[in-house]
């Protein structure tokens, strides 16, 4: 918000005192415009947006809630409704179908079942700890760090060829929840990889290219603004069985023509690669802006006092850029959980994600709008929970957007 310089009110007062007849009416009009405005014009200007968002955002959300608890049905007759398995009274049955399942935690050499509710509570506690514990003196930062690690590890995969390596894995005997966990782990893996790639790029742009850095930044971000579909499609040309990599490997004789590296396309690996590629240019921006806020004299002072470059980075740069990094992570993670286009083009059957299953409840084979509403609300709930919990970071990182 723009504020008047501190001297301005004084100047205004002086004008008023010196004037022979205080221009009372004019002053009050000016004051009104600046500080309150007429309510009519203020809300008149806001009205189109509020009406549009109410009818096209809040109303659809209201509808989806009605459908998820089966207060509304969409078949014209009772007979058709019962044929389609629709309910017409308030019911949590569909929610139970999604959520009353067991979650299995798979550690190396050890599996155990946990009820869904407990998993939810544990994640909530970890999320709250990760976001708020930094206010606790002394051990606060350790708690934040541990909470982040515990939140990330169950979903981190190492996309190594045909096999995805995991330290811990969450799975479920409920099909939809299992698919959800799989989507979260794919989204999280690509977010972490994207951040790890974007940090050195942003560092390079902020500290190594001098005056032309904004031009280079634009060159880095520009691909993000071109067609998403085409960038996905181009990866098919690179990773496909007759693609750039396979035909290159066949040409130099490393791979037999009859058995190309098939994990490259239509797998979880492909989805992770493509999602990472699609989002990296975008998140270079918040991380770059975070680096830009570092006062170089702090680093200089640290090194004058005998710190190594690594120490200076860890003790000064890292705490300053941490909110930007968390924001960058969320910028990839939040849209990726519900991703639907990418897996349906390059994921094949192995790389299916929750968003596809959700979409198929509406336009595909599964066709159950009410259960689809439940799936949509569950996804929305998780996303909004993460967003509100981390709003502080999103604001910090979104300053330049």
């Amino acid at each position: 918000m723009c504020r008047l310089p501190s001297g301005a009110p004084g100047i205004r007062m002086a004008t008023i005192v010196e004037a022979p007849i205080p221009p009372k009416q004019k002053r009050s009009r000016r004051e009104r415009r600046n500080d309150g405005g007429s309510a009519l014009s203020t809300y008149g200007l806001l009205a189109p947006m509020l009406i549009l968002l109410s009818t096209l955002f809040l109303l659809p959300m209201y509808y989806i809630v009605l459908f998820s608890i089966a207060l509304k049905r969409f078949s014209p007759t009772d007979a058709l409704a019962s044929l389609n398995g629709e309910l017409n009274s308030l019911s949590a049955e569909l929610w139970a179908k999604l959520l009353s399942v067991n979650v299995t935690v798979m550690l190396p050499g050890l599996n155990f079942n946990v009820p869904v509710l407990l998993v939810g509570i544990i994640f909530l506690v970890l999320l709250v700890a990760a976001v708020t514990a930094s206010r606790i003196p002394e051990y606060g930062n350790w708690i934040v760090g541990i909470a982040f690690v515990l939140l990330l590890t169950p979903f981190m995969t190492l996309p190594a060829g045909n096999n995805l390596l995991r330290l811990v894995e969450l799975t479920s005997d409920g099909d939809y929840l299992r698919l959800f966990f799989k989507s979260v782990s794919m989204a999280m893996t690509s977010s972490v990889i994207a951040v790890v790639i974007a940090i050195p790029v942003a560092y390079f742009l902020a500290f190594c290219v001098g005056k032309s850095k904004y031009t280079w930044l634009l060159i880095v971000i520009a691909p993000f603004l071109t067609s998403y579909l085409l960038r996905i499609f181009a990866w098919k040309v690179i990773l496909g069985d007759q693609g750039l990599i396979n035909s290159g490997l066949i040409a130099i004789g490393l791979v037999d023509e009859a058995s190309p590296l098939s994990f490259l396309i239509y797998s979880q690996f492909t989805v992770i690669v493509v999602l990472t590629y699609a989002w990296v240019p975008f998140i270079c921006l918040p991380i770059f802006l975070a680096f830009e806020t570092i006062d170089r004299r702090l680093l200089e002072a640290a090194m004058d006092l005998g710190a190594t470059r690594l120490q200076a980075f860890l003790k000064i740069s890292l705490p300053i850029i941490a909110p930007g990094i968390v924001a960058a992570f969320l910028f990839v993670f939040i849209p990726s959980i519900g991703e639907y286009i990418t897996p349906s083009l390059v994921g094949g059957t192995q790389g299916t994600m929750y968003g596809q299953s959700l979409a198929s409840q509406f336009v595909g084979g599964a066709f159950n709008w009410q259960f689809g509403s439940v799936m949509a609300l569950f996804l929305l709930g998780v996303v909004l929970l993460i967003t509100f919990a981390t709003a502080r970071f999103l604001r910090a990182g979104g300053g330049g957007l």
């Binding site: 008047l4 000016r30 405005g37 790029v201 071109t226 990296v280 200089e300 519900g338 609300l377």
Partner: protein, 277 residues
């Protein structure tokens, strides 16, 4: 900025070499898919696969003689221009009071405005489908439905561009205009508008670029008439069809680049003018 005066070198020479190498590889990988698409648009084969089978421009001709492609491009242009215009006007109207006046419930309004940004597109798409199919008034107009849905998501982008710019303009300029007897509308037209035109153009372009690339909502809400991304999405699933899709895709990519760089150039021009250099 004060820290720019420091001559302190943040990075060791070897670190810098390593980072430069990393950056070069990064840029190569970043632009590889785009370059490949351009190359394949001239490929004389039926499927987009290696090895290349000679050069031809025949697919460009084929693409533009295709009625389906022309119709979908027309639909996209209509939806994109409409959505960008509506979103920019509504966002401009809303940004002014939000930047300048004490609006009751500002926090709620801002939240309502920004939430569509984080709602997964597939959720918004199915919710809108429910509304349009099962809601009170059942709207049958395919393209208009897509257009208004795009407005919902384009508004936050436009507001995020316009609001900070309006807030950064010195209030005393407007006060001076009022003191000289200008009406509210005159003040806006003669004082405010010239200062924010670059941001308005930039908000329009961002909304347009978003709309002509949006596929999830468009595919859920489209009926018989499809937009270009929806056509492309269905076509990309059929390997035999892809070769005819690439030429238009290449042109679209070039247009997107021009628009992106154009929007940025206009924004910078506006920044410079506001500072008064």
């Amino acid at each position: 900025m004060a820290n720019d005066t420091s001559t302190f070198v943040v990075i060791s020479p070897w670190g810098k070499r390593l980072l430069t190498a990393f950056f070069v590889v990064f840029l190569l990988v970043l632009y590889l898919p785009t370059v490949l698409l351009v190359v394949f648009s001239f490929n004389d084969g039926t499927v987009a696969a290696f090895p290349l089978e000679g050069l031809t421009t025949k697919y460009y001709g084929l693409a533009f003689s295709s009625k389906e492609i022309r119709e979908s491009l027309g639909a996209s242009a209509w939806v994109g221009l409409g959505a960008a215009t509506i979103a920019t006007v509504i966002a401009l109207m809303a940004s002014y009071p939000l930047a300048r006046r004490n609006v009751r419930g500002k926090a709620f309004i801002s939240a309502l405005m920004l939430v569509p940004l984080v709602v997964p597109t597939v959720v918004l798409a199915v919710a809108l489908l429910l509304l349009f199919q099962k809601g009170p008034g059942q709207v049958g107009l395919g393209l208009t439905r897509i257009m208004v849905a795009h407005v919902v998501i384009a508004i936050p982008f436009a507001v995020l561009i316009l609001l900070p710019r309006i807030a950064s303009i010195d209030r005393r300029l407007e006060e001076a205009a009022y003191d000289l007897g200008a009406t509210g509308l005159q003040t806006f037209r003669l004082v405010m508008l010239p200062l924010i035109v670059p941001s308005i153009i930039s908000a329009f372009l961002i909304s347009f670029v978003f709309s002509i690339d949006e596929v999830v909502i468009a595919s859920f809400l489209s009926s018989d008439q499809v937009t270009y991304p929806v056509y492309l999405y269905s076509g990309l699933k059929v390997p035999e069809k892809t070769q005819t899709l690439i030429p238009v895709a290449t042109i679209m990519i070039v247009i997107s680049f021009v628009l992106a760089f154009g929007a940025e150039a206009i924004r910078r021009y506006g920044d410079r003018r506001l500072v008064g250099k």
